[in-house]
C-alpha cells in the first residue's frame, strides 16, 4: 500500500512503486472555460487509482487528454519514463494504454467476437498480401487471434454469445465487452470511464472483484472514473478528487473521505 499523499502534488515516495503514468501540470481550456486546471499526479505501477469528482469536474476531459483524444493546452504527460505529450490516440494505444468510454463505443453492427478480434490489431502483423492470399503469418495468426479473442469473451462470460451483434447485448454486458476489447490490446494501463454506470446492483457488486481479478491476471495498472462512491472506496488503492478542474485531494480512500475540501466540494459550502 502506498503512503498517503494528502496534498495534491506530484509525489512519488521513494518506498513506493515507480509511477507508470505521470501527469504534469496539465491545463485544458475550452474557450474561456478551464476544464482542467494545472493538475499533476502520478499513478503507480499495479495500483487501482480512482478519479472522482462532481459532474463537470473535468474527469473525462482528463481521460481524453491522457489517451490523446484531446490535446492539453499546456502540461506534460509521461508514461514509463517517456514523454508522450502530443502523440496521437493510436500511438498512445500502441504504448499499452487502453481505455473504455463513458458512453460505450462498441462497434455496434459487429459481433462480440469481431469487436474483440479487431482490438488484436497492434499484436498482429498480417498485411494486405499475406492476409488476403492466406500466406504466412496470415492464417496461423488469424487462428491465434480468434482463440485469444474467445478466451477474453470466456473471461467476461460472453463466449456462448460470441456471434451476437454487440448492439443487442444488455447494457452491463456491453460494458464488460468493451473492457474485453480493451484487454485485447494487452495493455499495461487500463483506463475505465465509469465502468459501473448503468449496471444493476448485482452487476455492480461483481464489478469490484472483476476489476481486481483483471488487475492481477493481466498485471496491469487501472485508472478509473467512477461516481458510485462505495465502489470507489472499496476498490481503489488511491483516489484523486477533481473539483471544477482543480485537483483538491489525493491519497488513500479513508484520508480522502475525511478531507474537509472534499466534503465541502461534495456537500457545498452553504
Amino acid at each position: 500500500m502506498q503512503p498517503s499523499d494528502s496534498v495534491p502534488r506530484i509525489t512519488t515516495p521513494k518506498s513506493a512503486g515507480l509511477p507508470t503514468l505521470e501527469v504534469h501540470n496539465i491545463v485544458r481550456n475550452f474557450g474561456g472555460l478551464v476544464a482542467v486546471n494545472n493538475v499533476s499526479f502520478g499513478v503507480h505501477k499495479d495500483e487501482i487509482f480512482g478519479l472522482i469528482g462532481p459532474n463537470g469536474a473535468g474527469k473525462t476531459t482528463l481521460f481524453n487528454i491522457i489517451t490523446g483524444l484531446t490535446m492539453p493546452s499546456s502540461g506534460r504527460l509521461v508514461y514509463d519514463g517517456r514523454d508522450y505529450t502530443g502523440e496521437k490516440p493510436h500511438q498512445i494505444a500502441q504504448k499499452g494504454i487502453a481505455r473504455t468510454f463513458q458512453n460505450i463505443r462498441l462497434f455496434g453492427n459487429l459481433t462480440a467476437l469481431e469487436n474483440v478480434m479487431i482490438a488484436r490489431h497492434t499484436h498482429t502483423h498480417s498485411n494486405l498480401i499475406t492476409g488476403v492470399f492466406g500466406l504466412p503469418p496470415g492464417p496461423a495468426e488469424e487462428r491465434r487471434t480468434r482463440e485469444k479473442s474467445m478466451e477474453l469473451l470466456d473471461l467476461i462470460g460472453l463466449a456462448d454469445r460470441a456471434q451476437m451483434q454487440a448492439r443487442n447485448f444488455a447494457y452491463g454486458d456491453q460494458r464488460r465487452l468493451e473492457i474485453a476489447r480493451a484487454l485485447a490490446l494487452e495493455p499495461s494501463l487500463l483506463l475505465l470511464d465509469e465502468p459501473a454506470a448503468g449496471m444493476n446492483t448485482n452487476e455492480k457488486a461483481g464489478l469490484s472483484d472483476f476489476i481486481r481479478g483483471v488487475r492481477s491476471d493481466f498485471q496491469l495498472t487501472v485508472l478509473l472514473i467512477e461516481h458510485h462512491v462505495p465502489l470507489v472506496m472499496g476498490l481503489c488503492d488511491r483516489i484523486a478528487v477533481l473539483h471544477f478542474g482543480d485537483l483538491i485531494a489525493l491519497g488513500q480512500p479513508t484520508a480522502v473521505q475525511n478531507d474537509p475540501a472534499v466534503i465541502e466540494a461534495y456537500l457545498g459550502d452553504e
Partner: protein, 318 residues
Amino acid sequence: MQAFIQVYGFLLVTMVLQATLALSLYLPLMAGQLSLASPGFYAIGGYVAALLSTRVFPVERGLYPVPPFLFELFVAALLCGIVAVIVGFTALRLRGIFLALATIAVVEIIRVSAVAFQDFTGGQIGISAIPDPIGSQFGYILVAAPLLLFAMFFTYRLERTRVGRAFTALREDELAAAAIGINPMAYKVLAFTLGAMLAGVTGVISAHLLSTWNPSLGTFDGSILILAYVLVGGSRTFLGPVVGGMLLTALPEGLRALAGVNGLPEWLSQLLKDSRLILFGVLIALGAAFFPQGLITPDLFRRREPAPLNNPPTPVAK
C-alpha cells in the same frame, strides 16, 4: 448464342466493367470514406492506355500485342496508386459530405487537365484509334471477368483479415478504432488507394474496348452513376456493388428491349424507348425508398444467433 453475343456482347462486358467500378467505390467505403473519385482514376487509366498504345508502342496493323497491354495495366495501377496516396493524405482529412465534394473536385481537376493539355491528350476530341488487343468486343470478357472476379475475391478475403477489420472498425467508429491502436489516416489512405488502382485498371480495359478516349469518359455524372450502383446494390457487402453495377448497366437496355415488345400501346413503347433515363431515375428513387439498405444486405448471409430469450436485447448505448 452466337446471335445473342453479337447483340449483347458489348453490354455484357460493360456490365462487368461497371461492376468493377462499383467495387472501386466500395473499397474506400469499407473504411467509411465516401469517395466519388473513381471516374477520375478511371480517366487516368484510360489516358495511360491511350497514350502508351498509340504513341509509345504503336502497331501498324493487326492485333495489339499482349505484353504492352499488361504493361499498361501495371502503369495505370502504379500511377493511380501514387496520385491516390498524394490526394488521399490531403482529402481524407475531410469527413462525410465534405470528402465527397473534395473527391468530385478531384474528378473535375483531372477532366479539366485532360482538356487543357491538348498536345498530350487531344483536348476535347481525345485520342482515337486505340489498338485492339483481342479482336472482338465480347472477347474483352476474357480480361474484364477475371479482373472483376479477382477484385471480388480480394474484397471478400480482405473483410475477413486484419487489414479489412481495421477498415471496418474505422467505418463503425473512428474514435474507438484509434483508441485500440488503428492508425486512422494510414488505413483510410490505403482503402482509398486500393479503390483508385482498381478504377485505373478498369480504365485501361475500357480504353481498348471503346478504341477511343476523351474527357467526357470521366466526369461528375460518372461519380453519381457509380454511387447509384453501390446504393441500389447495397453498401454493406461486396456483392451489393457488383449486383447494383450489373443491374443498372443492363437496365436501360432492358427497357429498350421492352419497348420493342409487340402489342404495347404506342405511348408506352415510346415512353420506354425515349424516356428510359427518366425511368432509370424513377427506379433509383424507388429503390432508395423500398430498399434503403440496397438489394443485397449482410442479413442475407450472416448466420447470426438470435438474442436469447432470457436476455432481452436493449438498444445500443449511445
